[in-house]
Symmetry: C2
Subunit: 138 residues, 2 copies
Amino acid sequence: MKQFSKEEIDKFIEILDFSKIEGDLIPVITQDFQTNEILMLAFANEEAVRRSLETGYAHYYSRSRGELWKKGEISGHVQEIQQVITDCDTDTLLFKVKQIGAACHKGFDTCFYNEFVNGELKRIGKKVFNPDDVYKKK
Amino acid sequence: MKQFSKEEIDKFIEILDFSKIEGDLIPVITQDFQTNEILMLAFANEEAVRRSLETGYAHYYSRSRGELWKKGEISGHVQEIQQVITDCDTDTLLFKVKQIGAACHKGFDTCFYNEFVNGELKRIGKKVFNPDDVYKKK
């Protein structure tokens, strides 16, 4: 699991361009480091990038809840960061991760489980858990 | 190369959520359909999604230029769409494509060619063309 020093993280934050998405955010694509399957897309603010690189676990910023979140905090389905990659404009991040459990809160291995075929969404992802069991109702 | 009818495209536009990104945009991840390598991330408005599905070639919306663009229009490095996939919230798209030439306008096979290692960006992508040759200076 990849971790970075404070000095390294400061340098990285300096390089990144948070100006493109309202709220000073950067899109983060998360990809399985072994299969190259895309698991999810989420957004990070500076603090989420910082926490991700400090701890080695993927953190994001929830625009709907207005807060930082660690992926898997409730479900245990954490993402251990293996590689941190940027695009050519340094305005998008790619985390290659080891996904513990499954990426999608709806119970699928990946959030990208619906293909558009013949005018309809067709499930192509694998359902691996029941969200009601994992996210206990309050 | 995948193409869709007007009725199918209308249905698809209806399903998608363009409300999350300023300017009624949806992020589009583009992935090589054979290797699963991530090629780029860009944004699409309704018209760009429509043109992509009508023609079978990836189109995006440029926020900096404020216009629709067909990937590869100048360079010839077009993307033939093989699969159109959405995430669980239908607010992100994934195009699995056959990339003709290379994805990155800076000459690399993918835009994600820089890994953050030891406090620096390290090139991990393959340079496959010289941008000066492909994008002729005016």
